[in-house]
């Protein structure tokens, strides 16, 4: 599938609560070696909930520090995004474009840094 397709999926918890649409995908370059050349780009987590323009521009996580006016503006508009570990995925409903998660008790708590 393409990432543009994936970005249309929504994520639901085990009890049917809609957590939001996938807005980004976190990738770690440490997967099994393919052809012995490069580490595979393993999808580590799904980012759910719109990070918005602020994230795209780099104001979240403090990479871009200025100008002061924009930094303040964007931190006010910062949306809370949730990070869903790939291991939390229970099953995919490709027709409805929904990803269902495992029961809350079994979920791994993740943040943007971990």
């Amino acid at each position: 599938m393409r990432i543009s397709d994936l970005l249309e999926y929504t994520v639901e918890s085990a009890d049917g609560q809609r957590l939001g649409r996938i807005s980004d995908v976190r990738v770690i370059q440490d997967g099994p070696l393919i052809r012995g050349v490069q580490s595979a780009f393993r999808v580590d987590a799904l980012i759910v909930g719109r990070g918005g323009l602020a994230e795209r521009l780099g104001y979240i996580r403090g990479r871009v520090q200025g100008p002061w006016m924009l930094r303040v503006l964007f931190s006010r508009l910062e949306r809370r995004s949730q990070v869903i570990a790939v291991s939390d995925i229970d099953h995919w409903d490709d027709d409805a474009r929904v990803i269902h998660l495992v029961a809350d008790a079994h979920r791994v708590r993740r943040t943007l840094e971990t």
Binding site: L53, R56, L57, G58, R63, V64, Q65, G66, P67, W68, M69, L70
Partner: protein
């Protein structure tokens, strides 16, 4: 010594290249209608373009990426596409105005109707974009553009009351014959003429192609900090000359020939010849830059190879876009559309579209991943740049309503 010469050449080219059809029309018209009451806008505008050009030049030198390439990458393909369509459309209007300007300047010496000259001019512009050494052409047209200094000579020859002149400029007010709306509209036009976006697309793409690095940052700053303000001084000379000679006779500027009138009147036939050379050089140079910008914005958004230095066959689609743009602009000009009106619309809409490209550059100039941690904007620059962002947004919001209210400035 050679280095100093090189820098001087760069500065002179920047001065001569600052003025284009938009500046000619805007400064001449406002001088005739509003006297010196809008002179302050030129100053505000030149500070803005200095900030904008410095940031884009720095970004281009430090990460090898020109403006439009980064627009898609930072704003995403949707905003990038909207940006592309707006910029391309306005660019087309500007190109039409510049080509018409070249044709008009040639018609002033040949007494051939400018419409007949448009196809010839378009071909010439294309030929230079296609084949000729761009560095050389840039130098030639930049230096020939210095002929516009004859406007400063004109003002000096008229010998105005200098105190009165500066006092008028320093105490602006809305003239009785105008409304606050037309005042604001022409203010926006002047602002858009000073802060032309195509200049920045061209400038940053050129910087990438020329392989600017950290070492070139200093030269960039000098060209921009000295060249542009002196170019703005030339614009103010144009404004002063129409204010002093046309306004008292209630002559308004609605044709390019009237821009040359004060010079002919004060300096005579030699002055007229010089100013026509200057107008030709300024508009031709601008036509080259706008044509290439049309190619740059499309190619950079879509990731095609682009460039003016290497042979055309290494960047086929880029050159096709440039060629098509020149043809389209020439065709539009041939419909007989009023060149002065097209120029007015192009600069006003340029002003309105400025936030679209200024905003991402401002952010990237602050992003250590692109310019490196030591070269992000300093606090003072950020403060000034932020003020300008606010100004640009306000201008953008006000433009269309003002255009409607004033019915295009009449």
């Amino acid at each position: 010594m050679k280095k100093v010469l090189g820098v001087a050449l760069g500065v002179l080219t920047a001065i001569g290249g600052f003025v284009d059809m938009g500046d000619l029309v805007a400064n001449a018209e406002t001088g005739a209608r509003f006297d010196m009451n809008l002179a302050w806008v030129v100053i505000v505008g030149v500070i803005g373009i200095v900030v904008y050009a410095e940031m884009s030049g720095r970004v281009a030198a430090l990460c090898g990426r020109p403006v439009f390439d980064l627009v898609r990458e930072r704003l995403g393909p949707r905003f990038g596409m909207a940006n592309l369509l707006a910029s391309f459309f306005i660019n087309m209007l500007t190109l039409t105005a510049e080509i018409a300007g070249v044709a008009l300047s040639l018609s002033l010496v040949s007494s051939v109707n400018y419409l007949f000259l448009i196809p010839f001019v378009a071909f010439l512009v294309w030929l230079v974009c296609w084949r000729m050494s761009f560095v050389m052409m840039e130098r030639i047209f930049g230096l020939l553009g210095l002929c516009l200094v004859v406007f400063a000579v004109t003002v000096w020859k008229i010998g105005p009351d200098w105190n009165q002149l500066f006092s008028d400029a320093a105490h602006p007010h809305v003239p009785h014959s105008e409304t606050v709306f037309t005042y604001a509209y022409f203010g926006i036009a002047l602002f858009g003429a000073a802060m032309t976006p195509y200049e920045v697309f061209f400038f940053s793409s050129g910087a990438v192609e020329d392989g600017w690095t950290r070492k070139d940052l200093g030269e960039n700053k000098i060209n921009v900090l000295i060249g542009f303000p002196l170019g703005a001084a030339l614009s103010l000379a144009i404004m002063a000359s129409t204010h002093l000679l046309l306004a008292p006779r209630h002559i308004s500027v609605d044709q390019l020939s009237q821009v040359a009138l004060p010079v002919a009147s004060a300096v005579g036939r030699l002055g007229l010849a010089v100013v026509i050379i200057g107008i030709f050089a300024a508009t031709f140079g601008a036509a080259l830059e706008t044509s290439l910008s049309a190619g740059y914005v499309v190619a950079q958004y879509l990731g095609w190879p682009w460039g003016k230095h290497s042979a055309p066959r290494t960047a086929s689609r880029f050159h096709v876009v440039v060629m098509m743009s020149i043809i389209a602009a020439a065709l539009f000009g041939l419909t007989g559309v009023d060149p002065v009106k097209v120029t007015e619309y192009s600069i006003v809409l340029s002003a309105a579209a400025l936030p679209l490209t200024y905003f991402p550059i401002l952010v990237i100039a602050n992003d250590p991943r692109y310019v490196g941690p030591e070269h992000t904007n300093g606090r003072f620059l950020n403060a000034v740049a932020s003020v300008y962002l606010v100004i640009l947004v306000l201008v953008a919001i006000a433009t269309i309503p003002l255009m409607i209210i004033t019915k295009g400035g009449s």
